[in-house]
Symmetry: C2
Subunit: 213 residues, 2 copies
Protein backbone atom coordinates (compact mmCIF):
# COMPACT_ATOMS: atom_id res chain seq x y z
CA UNK A 1 0.00 0.00 0.00
CA UNK A 2 2.90 2.36 0.68
CA UNK A 3 4.53 2.29 -2.74
CA UNK A 4 1.54 3.29 -4.90
CA UNK A 5 0.56 6.23 -2.67
CA UNK A 6 4.12 7.57 -2.74
CA UNK A 7 4.00 7.15 -6.54
CA UNK A 8 0.85 9.29 -6.60
CA UNK A 9 2.58 11.92 -4.49
CA UNK A 10 5.56 11.92 -6.81
CA UNK A 11 3.34 12.25 -9.88
CA UNK A 12 1.45 15.17 -8.31
CA UNK A 13 4.70 16.92 -7.42
CA UNK A 14 5.96 16.44 -10.97
CA UNK A 15 2.73 17.86 -12.42
CA UNK A 16 2.97 20.91 -10.17
CA UNK A 17 6.64 21.43 -11.08
CA UNK A 18 5.91 21.22 -14.82
CA UNK A 19 2.94 23.54 -14.52
CA UNK A 20 4.92 26.13 -12.58
CA UNK A 21 7.88 25.92 -14.98
CA UNK A 22 5.61 26.64 -17.97
CA UNK A 23 3.92 29.49 -16.13
CA UNK A 24 7.22 31.01 -15.06
CA UNK A 25 8.64 30.85 -18.60
CA UNK A 26 5.47 32.29 -20.14
CA UNK A 27 5.17 35.23 -17.75
CA UNK A 28 8.84 36.10 -18.00
CA UNK A 29 8.65 36.05 -21.82
CA UNK A 30 5.48 38.18 -21.76
CA UNK A 31 7.06 40.75 -19.45
CA UNK A 32 10.04 40.98 -21.82
CA UNK A 33 8.38 40.92 -25.26
CA UNK A 34 4.75 41.81 -24.58
CA UNK A 35 1.90 39.32 -24.52
CA UNK A 36 1.08 39.61 -28.24
CA UNK A 37 4.62 38.84 -29.43
CA UNK A 38 4.98 35.68 -27.37
CA UNK A 39 3.95 32.43 -29.11
CA UNK A 40 3.11 29.07 -27.58
CA UNK A 41 6.21 27.77 -29.42
CA UNK A 42 8.42 30.23 -27.56
CA UNK A 43 6.90 29.21 -24.21
CA UNK A 44 7.35 25.50 -24.99
CA UNK A 45 10.96 26.01 -25.99
CA UNK A 46 11.77 28.07 -22.89
CA UNK A 47 10.15 25.58 -20.52
CA UNK A 48 11.27 22.48 -22.47
CA UNK A 49 7.84 20.90 -22.89
CA UNK A 50 5.95 19.73 -25.97
CA UNK A 51 3.02 21.70 -27.42
CA UNK A 52 0.83 18.80 -26.38
CA UNK A 53 1.91 19.13 -22.74
CA UNK A 54 1.36 22.88 -22.89
CA UNK A 55 -2.21 22.58 -24.19
CA UNK A 56 -2.89 19.80 -21.69
CA UNK A 57 -2.07 22.12 -18.83
CA UNK A 58 -3.36 25.48 -20.04
CA UNK A 59 -5.63 24.99 -23.06
CA UNK A 60 -4.46 28.23 -24.73
CA UNK A 61 -1.91 31.03 -24.52
CA UNK A 62 -4.50 33.11 -22.67
CA UNK A 63 -4.95 30.22 -20.21
CA UNK A 64 -1.44 30.75 -18.78
CA UNK A 65 -2.43 34.22 -17.59
CA UNK A 66 -6.14 33.79 -16.90
CA UNK A 67 -5.80 30.36 -15.34
CA UNK A 68 -8.49 27.81 -14.79
CA UNK A 69 -11.70 28.41 -12.89
CA UNK A 70 -10.06 27.13 -9.65
CA UNK A 71 -13.32 25.63 -8.47
CA UNK A 72 -13.32 23.92 -5.08
CA UNK A 73 -13.51 20.12 -5.07
CA UNK A 74 -16.78 18.31 -4.32
CA UNK A 75 -15.41 17.35 -0.87
CA UNK A 76 -14.49 20.96 -0.05
CA UNK A 77 -17.96 22.13 -1.13
CA UNK A 78 -19.68 19.41 0.93
CA UNK A 79 -17.76 20.36 4.06
CA UNK A 80 -18.66 24.03 3.59
CA UNK A 81 -22.34 23.37 2.85
CA UNK A 82 -22.87 21.05 5.81
CA UNK A 83 -21.44 23.45 8.40
CA UNK A 84 -24.41 24.64 10.49
CA UNK A 85 -23.07 27.48 12.64
CA UNK A 86 -22.38 31.16 12.00
CA UNK A 87 -19.17 32.57 10.46
CA UNK A 88 -20.09 31.93 6.84
CA UNK A 89 -17.88 34.76 5.52
CA UNK A 90 -14.79 33.28 7.21
CA UNK A 91 -15.74 29.78 6.04
CA UNK A 92 -16.24 30.99 2.47
CA UNK A 93 -12.89 32.77 2.56
CA UNK A 94 -11.21 29.54 3.61
CA UNK A 95 -12.99 27.64 0.85
CA UNK A 96 -11.93 30.17 -1.82
CA UNK A 97 -8.31 30.18 -0.70
CA UNK A 98 -8.22 26.36 -0.45
CA UNK A 99 -9.54 26.12 -4.03
CA UNK A 100 -6.91 28.60 -5.24
CA UNK A 101 -4.11 26.71 -3.51
CA UNK A 102 -5.34 23.28 -4.67
CA UNK A 103 -3.05 23.49 -7.72
CA UNK A 104 -0.13 24.80 -5.65
CA UNK A 105 0.37 27.91 -7.78
CA UNK A 106 3.71 29.70 -7.60
CA UNK A 107 2.56 32.70 -5.57
CA UNK A 108 5.77 34.58 -6.32
CA UNK A 109 4.47 34.92 -9.90
CA UNK A 110 1.36 36.81 -8.78
CA UNK A 111 2.74 40.37 -9.03
CA UNK A 112 4.24 39.74 -12.52
CA UNK A 113 1.01 38.10 -13.63
CA UNK A 114 -0.84 41.23 -12.53
CA UNK A 115 1.51 43.43 -14.58
CA UNK A 116 0.84 41.38 -17.74
CA UNK A 117 -2.91 41.54 -17.07
CA UNK A 118 -2.90 45.30 -16.52
CA UNK A 119 -0.96 45.95 -19.72
CA UNK A 120 -3.49 44.10 -21.87
CA UNK A 121 -7.11 45.23 -21.73
CA UNK A 122 -8.38 42.12 -23.55
CA UNK A 123 -6.75 39.89 -20.90
CA UNK A 124 -8.17 42.05 -18.12
CA UNK A 125 -11.62 41.61 -19.65
CA UNK A 126 -11.19 37.82 -19.82
CA UNK A 127 -9.99 37.83 -16.19
CA UNK A 128 -13.01 39.86 -15.09
CA UNK A 129 -15.34 37.48 -16.97
CA UNK A 130 -13.70 34.54 -15.19
CA UNK A 131 -14.07 36.24 -11.82
CA UNK A 132 -17.72 37.02 -12.55
CA UNK A 133 -18.46 33.39 -13.41
CA UNK A 134 -16.64 32.22 -10.28
CA UNK A 135 -18.63 34.69 -8.17
CA UNK A 136 -21.90 33.25 -9.53
CA UNK A 137 -20.66 29.75 -8.70
CA UNK A 138 -19.89 30.74 -5.10
CA UNK A 139 -23.32 32.39 -4.74
CA UNK A 140 -24.86 29.00 -5.61
CA UNK A 141 -22.63 27.25 -3.06
CA UNK A 142 -23.63 29.74 -0.34
CA UNK A 143 -27.31 29.21 -1.26
CA UNK A 144 -26.83 25.46 -0.75
CA UNK A 145 -25.59 26.11 2.78
CA UNK A 146 -28.53 28.43 3.45
CA UNK A 147 -30.96 25.71 2.34
CA UNK A 148 -29.12 23.19 4.49
CA UNK A 149 -29.47 25.55 7.49
CA UNK A 150 -33.19 26.12 6.72
CA UNK A 151 -32.38 29.82 6.80
CA UNK A 152 -35.55 31.96 6.85
CA UNK A 153 -36.41 34.18 3.88
CA UNK A 154 -37.91 34.18 0.40
CA UNK A 155 -35.76 32.82 -2.47
CA UNK A 156 -35.12 36.42 -3.60
CA UNK A 157 -34.04 37.47 -0.09
CA UNK A 158 -31.77 34.46 0.28
CA UNK A 159 -30.15 35.22 -3.06
CA UNK A 160 -29.50 38.81 -1.98
CA UNK A 161 -27.94 37.52 1.24
CA UNK A 162 -25.82 34.99 -0.66
CA UNK A 163 -24.56 37.72 -2.98
CA UNK A 164 -23.77 39.86 0.06
CA UNK A 165 -21.77 37.00 1.64
CA UNK A 166 -19.71 36.60 -1.56
CA UNK A 167 -19.22 40.39 -1.77
CA UNK A 168 -18.02 40.53 1.85
CA UNK A 169 -15.67 37.58 1.27
CA UNK A 170 -14.25 39.34 -1.80
CA UNK A 171 -13.64 42.35 0.46
CA UNK A 172 -11.73 40.14 2.89
CA UNK A 173 -9.78 38.74 -0.10
CA UNK A 174 -8.67 42.34 -0.75
CA UNK A 175 -7.52 42.58 2.86
CA UNK A 176 -5.66 39.31 2.39
CA UNK A 177 -3.95 40.39 -0.84
CA UNK A 178 -2.83 43.59 0.86
CA UNK A 179 -1.40 41.67 3.82
CA UNK A 180 0.34 39.32 1.41
CA UNK A 181 1.89 42.09 -0.70
CA UNK A 182 2.80 44.08 2.44
CA UNK A 183 4.60 41.03 3.85
CA UNK A 184 6.50 40.68 0.52
CA UNK A 185 5.09 37.20 0.06
CA UNK A 186 7.11 35.65 2.85
CA UNK A 187 4.26 34.39 5.03
CA UNK A 188 2.46 31.16 4.21
CA UNK A 189 -0.97 31.88 2.67
CA UNK A 190 -2.73 29.65 5.21
CA UNK A 191 -1.15 31.69 8.02
CA UNK A 192 -2.37 34.93 6.43
CA UNK A 193 -5.89 33.51 6.11
CA UNK A 194 -5.91 32.61 9.80
CA UNK A 195 -4.77 36.16 10.63
CA UNK A 196 -7.51 37.68 8.46
CA UNK A 197 -10.17 35.48 10.05
CA UNK A 198 -8.87 36.51 13.50
CA UNK A 199 -9.15 40.20 12.61
CA UNK A 200 -12.64 39.62 11.19
CA UNK A 201 -13.81 37.90 14.35
CA UNK A 202 -12.18 40.49 16.64
CA UNK A 203 -13.95 43.19 14.63
CA UNK A 204 -17.29 41.36 14.93
CA UNK A 205 -16.87 40.92 18.71
CA UNK A 206 -16.03 44.61 19.17
CA UNK A 207 -19.07 45.66 17.12
CA UNK A 208 -21.32 43.34 19.13
CA UNK A 209 -20.01 44.83 22.37
CA UNK A 210 -20.98 48.30 21.13
CA UNK A 211 -24.49 47.02 20.45
CA UNK A 212 -24.83 45.81 24.03
CA UNK A 213 -24.24 49.20 25.65
CA UNK B 1 -31.89 86.13 3.08
CA UNK B 2 -33.90 84.29 0.43
CA UNK B 3 -32.32 85.81 -2.67
CA UNK B 4 -28.65 85.03 -1.96
CA UNK B 5 -29.32 81.41 -0.98
CA UNK B 6 -31.29 80.83 -4.16
CA UNK B 7 -28.39 82.43 -6.05
CA UNK B 8 -26.04 79.92 -4.43
CA UNK B 9 -28.35 77.11 -5.46
CA UNK B 10 -28.45 78.38 -9.01
CA UNK B 11 -24.67 78.71 -9.14
CA UNK B 12 -24.22 75.17 -7.84
CA UNK B 13 -26.65 73.79 -10.40
CA UNK B 14 -24.81 75.66 -13.15
CA UNK B 15 -21.46 74.26 -11.99
CA UNK B 16 -22.84 70.73 -11.97
CA UNK B 17 -24.36 71.18 -15.44
CA UNK B 18 -21.08 72.51 -16.88
CA UNK B 19 -19.07 69.73 -15.25
CA UNK B 20 -21.39 67.05 -16.57
CA UNK B 21 -21.43 68.58 -20.09
CA UNK B 22 -17.61 68.51 -20.24
CA UNK B 23 -17.50 64.96 -18.91
CA UNK B 24 -20.14 63.75 -21.37
CA UNK B 25 -18.35 65.35 -24.34
CA UNK B 26 -14.95 64.00 -23.27
CA UNK B 27 -16.12 60.41 -22.75
CA UNK B 28 -18.08 60.33 -25.97
CA UNK B 29 -15.03 61.64 -27.92
CA UNK B 30 -12.77 59.10 -26.21
CA UNK B 31 -15.10 56.23 -27.02
CA UNK B 32 -15.11 57.32 -30.67
CA UNK B 33 -11.46 58.24 -31.28
CA UNK B 34 -9.57 56.55 -28.45
CA UNK B 35 -8.22 58.35 -25.38
CA UNK B 36 -4.83 59.21 -26.91
CA UNK B 37 -6.26 60.93 -30.02
CA UNK B 38 -8.58 63.22 -28.05
CA UNK B 39 -7.15 66.64 -27.12
CA UNK B 40 -8.34 69.09 -24.47
CA UNK B 41 -9.08 71.44 -27.41
CA UNK B 42 -11.48 68.92 -28.91
CA UNK B 43 -13.24 68.46 -25.55
CA UNK B 44 -13.55 72.23 -25.04
CA UNK B 45 -14.96 72.72 -28.53
CA UNK B 46 -17.49 69.91 -28.14
CA UNK B 47 -18.68 71.12 -24.73
CA UNK B 48 -18.41 74.84 -25.60
CA UNK B 49 -16.21 75.86 -22.68
CA UNK B 50 -12.85 77.65 -22.54
CA UNK B 51 -9.59 75.81 -21.79
CA UNK B 52 -9.49 77.79 -18.56
CA UNK B 53 -12.88 76.43 -17.49
CA UNK B 54 -11.81 72.92 -18.45
CA UNK B 55 -8.65 73.01 -16.33
CA UNK B 56 -10.57 74.61 -13.49
CA UNK B 57 -12.88 71.64 -13.32
CA UNK B 58 -10.61 68.72 -14.16
CA UNK B 59 -6.97 69.78 -13.93
CA UNK B 60 -5.90 67.57 -16.85
CA UNK B 61 -7.20 65.35 -19.64
CA UNK B 62 -6.66 62.37 -17.36
CA UNK B 63 -8.72 64.12 -14.70
CA UNK B 64 -11.92 63.76 -16.73
CA UNK B 65 -11.64 59.97 -16.54
CA UNK B 66 -9.94 59.48 -13.19
CA UNK B 67 -11.93 62.17 -11.43
CA UNK B 68 -11.11 63.91 -8.21
CA UNK B 69 -10.43 62.18 -4.91
CA UNK B 70 -14.12 62.54 -3.97
CA UNK B 71 -13.22 62.99 -0.31
CA UNK B 72 -16.10 63.42 2.12
CA UNK B 73 -16.60 66.91 3.56
CA UNK B 74 -15.45 67.79 7.09
CA UNK B 75 -19.09 67.73 8.26
CA UNK B 76 -19.68 64.27 6.80
CA UNK B 77 -16.51 62.96 8.44
CA UNK B 78 -17.45 64.51 11.82
CA UNK B 79 -20.89 62.90 11.76
CA UNK B 80 -19.34 59.51 10.93
CA UNK B 81 -16.59 59.74 13.57
CA UNK B 82 -18.91 60.82 16.38
CA UNK B 83 -21.39 57.96 15.92
CA UNK B 84 -20.92 55.66 18.91
CA UNK B 85 -22.93 52.54 18.15
CA UNK B 86 -22.26 49.46 16.01
CA UNK B 87 -22.88 49.20 12.25
CA UNK B 88 -19.64 50.85 11.16
CA UNK B 89 -19.55 49.04 7.79
CA UNK B 90 -23.02 50.36 6.87
CA UNK B 91 -22.12 53.84 8.14
CA UNK B 92 -18.87 53.85 6.13
CA UNK B 93 -20.73 52.72 3.03
CA UNK B 94 -23.12 55.64 3.41
CA UNK B 95 -20.20 58.03 3.89
CA UNK B 96 -18.42 56.77 0.75
CA UNK B 97 -21.55 57.00 -1.39
CA UNK B 98 -22.43 60.46 -0.02
CA UNK B 99 -18.89 61.66 -0.90
CA UNK B 100 -19.22 60.23 -4.42
CA UNK B 101 -22.61 61.88 -4.94
CA UNK B 102 -21.51 65.23 -3.48
CA UNK B 103 -20.57 66.48 -6.95
CA UNK B 104 -23.77 65.05 -8.47
CA UNK B 105 -21.95 62.98 -11.10
CA UNK B 106 -23.87 61.83 -14.15
CA UNK B 107 -24.21 58.16 -13.19
CA UNK B 108 -25.33 57.23 -16.71
CA UNK B 109 -21.73 57.91 -17.79
CA UNK B 110 -20.33 55.24 -15.45
CA UNK B 111 -20.41 52.28 -17.88
CA UNK B 112 -18.79 54.29 -20.71
CA UNK B 113 -16.20 55.64 -18.31
CA UNK B 114 -15.38 52.05 -17.37
CA UNK B 115 -14.92 51.10 -21.04
CA UNK B 116 -12.42 53.96 -21.57
CA UNK B 117 -10.55 52.94 -18.40
CA UNK B 118 -10.37 49.29 -19.39
CA UNK B 119 -9.04 50.10 -22.86
CA UNK B 120 -6.11 52.11 -21.48
CA UNK B 121 -3.76 50.39 -19.05
CA UNK B 122 -2.09 53.67 -18.01
CA UNK B 123 -5.50 55.10 -17.01
CA UNK B 124 -6.37 51.92 -15.16
CA UNK B 125 -3.12 52.24 -13.20
CA UNK B 126 -3.89 55.88 -12.31
CA UNK B 127 -7.41 54.85 -11.25
CA UNK B 128 -6.03 52.07 -9.02
CA UNK B 129 -3.54 54.51 -7.47
CA UNK B 130 -6.41 56.91 -6.74
CA UNK B 131 -8.47 54.13 -5.19
CA UNK B 132 -5.49 53.03 -3.07
CA UNK B 133 -4.97 56.58 -1.73
CA UNK B 134 -8.70 56.92 -1.01
CA UNK B 135 -8.64 53.58 0.84
CA UNK B 136 -5.80 54.84 3.06
CA UNK B 137 -7.78 58.00 3.76
CA UNK B 138 -10.85 55.99 4.83
CA UNK B 139 -8.70 53.78 7.07
CA UNK B 140 -7.63 56.96 8.90
CA UNK B 141 -11.26 58.10 9.21
CA UNK B 142 -12.29 54.71 10.64
CA UNK B 143 -9.39 54.90 13.11
CA UNK B 144 -10.69 58.29 14.30
CA UNK B 145 -14.06 56.70 15.06
CA UNK B 146 -12.35 53.83 16.90
CA UNK B 147 -10.43 56.32 19.06
CA UNK B 148 -13.64 58.24 19.71
CA UNK B 149 -15.30 54.97 20.82
CA UNK B 150 -12.30 54.09 23.04
CA UNK B 151 -12.28 50.77 21.21
CA UNK B 152 -9.99 48.24 22.92
CA UNK B 153 -6.82 47.03 21.18
CA UNK B 154 -3.22 47.97 20.43
CA UNK B 155 -2.60 50.53 17.66
CA UNK B 156 -1.53 47.70 15.33
CA UNK B 157 -4.70 45.72 16.10
CA UNK B 158 -6.91 48.76 15.58
CA UNK B 159 -5.24 49.46 12.25
CA UNK B 160 -5.89 45.87 11.15
CA UNK B 161 -9.53 46.25 12.16
CA UNK B 162 -9.83 49.59 10.36
CA UNK B 163 -8.39 48.04 7.19
CA UNK B 164 -10.85 45.17 7.54
CA UNK B 165 -13.78 47.62 7.85
CA UNK B 166 -12.69 49.42 4.67
CA UNK B 167 -12.21 46.06 2.88
CA UNK B 168 -15.70 44.91 3.94
CA UNK B 169 -17.21 48.23 2.83
CA UNK B 170 -15.48 47.87 -0.55
CA UNK B 171 -17.07 44.42 -0.80
CA UNK B 172 -20.50 45.96 -0.15
CA UNK B 173 -19.67 48.59 -2.82
CA UNK B 174 -19.27 45.65 -5.23
CA UNK B 175 -22.71 44.42 -4.19
CA UNK B 176 -24.05 47.91 -4.77
CA UNK B 177 -22.47 48.27 -8.21
CA UNK B 178 -23.94 44.93 -9.20
CA UNK B 179 -27.41 45.96 -8.02
CA UNK B 180 -27.03 49.23 -9.88
CA UNK B 181 -25.95 47.64 -13.16
CA UNK B 182 -28.58 44.89 -12.79
CA UNK B 183 -31.30 47.54 -12.37
CA UNK B 184 -29.98 49.27 -15.54
CA UNK B 185 -29.33 52.42 -13.54
CA UNK B 186 -32.97 53.26 -13.03
CA UNK B 187 -33.08 53.22 -9.24
CA UNK B 188 -31.86 56.20 -7.21
CA UNK B 189 -28.43 55.48 -5.67
CA UNK B 190 -29.65 56.39 -2.18
CA UNK B 191 -32.43 53.83 -2.53
CA UNK B 192 -29.91 51.16 -3.57
CA UNK B 193 -27.71 51.99 -0.58
CA UNK B 194 -30.68 51.57 1.77
CA UNK B 195 -31.42 48.19 0.16
CA UNK B 196 -27.80 47.05 0.53
CA UNK B 197 -27.72 48.12 4.18
CA UNK B 198 -31.00 46.21 4.75
CA UNK B 199 -29.53 43.06 3.21
CA UNK B 200 -26.36 43.48 5.30
CA UNK B 201 -28.34 43.82 8.52
CA UNK B 202 -30.68 40.91 7.66
CA UNK B 203 -27.58 38.81 6.99
CA UNK B 204 -26.03 39.83 10.32
CA UNK B 205 -29.25 39.04 12.23
CA UNK B 206 -29.50 35.61 10.61
CA UNK B 207 -25.87 34.81 11.45
CA UNK B 208 -26.37 35.93 15.05
CA UNK B 209 -29.42 33.66 15.33
CA UNK B 210 -27.28 30.71 14.22
CA UNK B 211 -24.79 31.52 16.97
CA UNK B 212 -27.52 31.41 19.60
CA UNK B 213 -28.57 27.80 18.94
Amino acid sequence: MHEPSSDVGLRTRKRVATRNAIERAAISLMLEHGYDKVTVDMICEASMVSQRTFFNYFGSKEGVIIGGPHEPTAEQIDAFVSTEGPGIVADLLELIVAAQLEQEPDLALLPSRRVVLQRHPQLMEAEMAKMGALEDRYIQIVLSRFRNQHRPGTPAQLEQEARMVVALASGVMRYLMHAWFAGSGEQAPTHLVRDAVDVLSRFTQNELALGED
